[in-house]
């Protein structure tokens, strides 16, 4: 297990960029680069990170980065991987870095295709649970009850379970992470780098702008997400499901904090009734029963 002191000082996402103050995605980017280092080629579809680069002729990124159309992270990554193979370049990590919209909605096809073809790359979805770049419209990853500009009275449907969808592709590595647990995050990215094949990392990326909480609380909200069980930290390696320490102890329901603590801390859940909260609590509990069964196998 790595320690903070061992981490390199070098930054590959440069300060003074357009990201919102307190942005969960930029913390995640910093952590990703601490794990993967300089030899990374990024593919970025339309998403918040498109804007975070800053305007031409400047970019906040210190690694080669290909911007691509919204749907096509998985496909463009497949092309880059094939080209590097033909050029005999073996020490570069290809990283697809996309928002939830570009992953679970419009980008799903090309990601599924890339995974089915066993494309050797890391796909990272940083999930702020809405279309952030265009001002927080709902996506398939928006959770039940959340306000977005296209679900002003709260989304009626539940969040699409993308990590499980990717696991169903039979890829060698799926992991969920959150910037609030940085060492867990970095360990998983480093592990992914060593594995051959398609690796899928899903970051829950708390978003002060979209979720309506002060920018100083990004890490705290993320911690609450894990402590309430709304977000579970796990890995699925070659089909084997395993909860990681911050989440593993929460299989015991009594150790999970009530979801209300997480939900009431965010303005986007302001409209939730007690009944809604009870429904969410039940959904979380049912999800954890499923984790219990998966862990036992």
């Amino acid at each position: 297990m790595v320690t903070l002191k061992e981490l390199p000082k070098e930054e590959y996402i440069l300060k003074g960029n357009p990201a919102c103050a307190g942005c969960g995605a930029t913390i995640s980017l910093r952590l990703m680069f601490k794990a993967l280092g300089r030899k990374v080629i990024m593919i970025v579809p339309a998403c918040c990170t498109t804007v975070i680069q800053g305007p031409y002729p400047y970019t906040a990124f210190k690694v080669p980065l290909l911007n691509i159309v919204f749907e096509s992270t998985g496909a463009a990554a497949s092309g880059i991987v094939a080209a590097l193979k033909k050029r005999g370049i073996e020490d570069v990590t290809v990283v697809g870095w996309a928002g939830d919209g570009g992953t679970v909605d419009i980008g799903l096809q090309s990601l599924s295709g890339a995974a089915e073809r066993e494309t050797n790359f890391i796909y990272i979805c940083y999930d702020n649970e809405a279309y952030g770049n265009t001002g927080m419209q709902r996506s398939g990853a928006t959770p039940f009850g959340a306000w977005t500009t296209t679900t002003p009275t709260g989304k009626r449907e539940h969040k699409k379970d993308m990590p499980m969808i990717m696991a169903a592709h039979g890829i060698p590595y799926v992991a969920t992470v959150i910037p609030s647990y940085p060492l867990d995050f970095i360990n998983k990215l480093r592990k992914a780098k060593q594995i051959k094949g398609t690796k899928y990392i899903h970051i829950l990326s708390p978003c002060p702008t979209g979720w309506r909480f002060p920018g100083s609380k990004t890490i705290e909200i993320g911690r609450l997400a894990v402590q309430t069980g709304m977000w579970a930290l796990y890995e699925i390696e070659n089909g084997e499901f395993k909860l990681n320490p911050p989440s593993a102890r929460l299989l015991d329901k009594s150790k999970r904090k009530p979801v209300e603590l997480y939900l009431r801390a965010q303005g986007r859940f302001r409209n939730l009734t007690d009944r809604d909260i009870a429904e969410i609590q039940q959904w979380v509990d049912e999800t954890w029963e499923k984790y219990k069964r998966l862990q036992a196998n």
Partner: protein, 396 residues
């Protein structure tokens, strides 16, 4: 020693991609292009072709994968038709804006709704504004030669734009014709390895194509237009060089047949252009001075060549295989635009007539073209075009 291959235009396109030493192919099957991707799969799996073959899950992904691969520094190839091409539309813009010299075989097929598998140019001509070069072939030899030439033209640092090499579905794609393919060493000498204009490199990091404000966007677009102008000069040069080395030339921008003393010039594209040669021969036997201009390159549009043809002719008749709904045939419009003078002058430009034929794959024979020419001839003698656009052989 050249080798003779007798095969369909589709298989020939695969041979050309192999001869061009393409390193990454990303393609998806669609009628009538499918046998291209099948042939490439055979070549790759037998080891005859040293390329990575990405069997993508849609045409949109095919073009995105080509963009990724070309941006990472290798020569790429793909192929599609009709709806596959349409599906790629936004990525076609992205590829041209990225100045990536991808070459794509487009096997022309009519767009739906309703479904059609027969040829016309509605698919490729709908993409004429994307910044891609467009070549239209009249036979299988030209398909082979043009794919090789396209890489040389597109990868030139003064161009750096992608190209479509179009051939009509079923008419060429599934028809066997003999093709003479030069030796691999000779092709390698003509077409050296890909030297990218730019590529992703961990030792020289940059972001490609992040937000460009109105402060610079227009200049980048100007550069694309400029590249098209450069391509216009380079295309005939490359065709002539290819002809000198290998014995086959295809007319550069426009293949001209008996245009020098023609009163009436038929202007068309693709296989109608080779069919029309027979029509011209027959009409000449009847004493009518008719010529044929087969537009080989639609983008960049050969304005200057059209103007030269118009100097001595009294009339140009465009035979189009697609209509821009709400306007007219594409060739008809672009010819008229090319001939429209920038000066008020005393001399009259030639008449320009527009005929639509072969839409949805309806057969266009040399007899049809003769009749089109005769109708045009009457209007030319009267000095007046009776119908602005004629839908040839339309049912009552």
């Amino acid at each position: 020693m050249t080798q003779t291959i007798i095969d369909t235009a589709n298989h020939i396109a695969a041979y050309a991609a192999k001869a061009a030493r393409v390193k990454v192919v990303a393609a998806y099957p669609i009628t009538p292009q499918t046998t291209i991707v099948e042939k490439i799969a055979e070549f790759v799996e037998s080891g005859e072709m040293d390329a990575e073959y990405i069997r993508v899950e849609s045409e949109h992904s095919a073009m995105a994968a080509c963009v990724g691969a070309e941006a990472a520094g290798v020569r790429t190839f793909t192929a599609t038709s009709a709806h596959g091409l349409a599906l790629m539309h936004e990525v076609l813009h992205w590829a041209a804006g990225s100045r990536l010299p991808i070459v794509m075989a487009v096997v022309n097929r009519a767009m739906g709704a309703p479904w059609s598998i027969w040829p016309d140019f509605s698919d490729s001509l709908s993409q004429r504004d994307t910044g891609w070069l467009q070549f239209y072939c009249a036979d299988n030899q030209e398909v082979f030669d043009t794919i090789i030439q396209a890489y040389k033209i597109c990868e030139d640092k003064r161009v750096l734009l992608p190209a479509m090499v179009c051939s009509e579905g079923l008419i060429l794609s599934h028809t066997f014709m003999p093709v003479k393919a030069p030796e691999q060493e000779e092709i390698d000498d003509f077409l050296p390895p890909y030297d990218p204009g730019w590529a992703l490199d961990v030792d020289n990091p940059f972001s490609h194509a992040n937000l460009v404000s109105p402060e610079w966007y227009m200049e980048f677009r100007y550069m694309i237009q400029n590249a098209m102008e450069n391509a216009k000069r380079l295309i005939p040069e490359v065709d002539r060089e290819y002809g000198r080395r290998f014995g086959f030339e295809h007319g550069g921008l426009i293949e001209k047949y008996q245009c020098e003393d023609a009163d009436l010039i038929l202007v068309t594209m693709g296989t109608m252009g080779s069919e029309a040669k027979i029509s011209v021969n027959n009409l000449r036997k009847e004493g009518l001075k008719v010529g044929l201009a087969r537009v080989r390159v639609f983008r960049p549009f050969p304005k200057e060549e059209i103007r030269k043809l118009a100097e001595n002719a009294q009339m140009l008749t465009a035979i189009d295989r697609h209509v821009s709904f709400g306007m007219e045939g594409f060739l008809a419009t672009e010819i008229k635009a090319s001939l429209y003078s920038r000066e008020k002058s005393a001399s009259d430009p030639p008449l320009v007539a527009g005929f639509l034929a072969g839409i949805g794959g309806r057969d266009v024979t040399y007899r049809d073209i003769e009749l089109i020419a005769k109708k045009s001839w009457k209007w030319m003698q009267a000095g007046k075009i009776e119908e602005e656009t004629v839908w040839w052989n339309l049912r009552e």
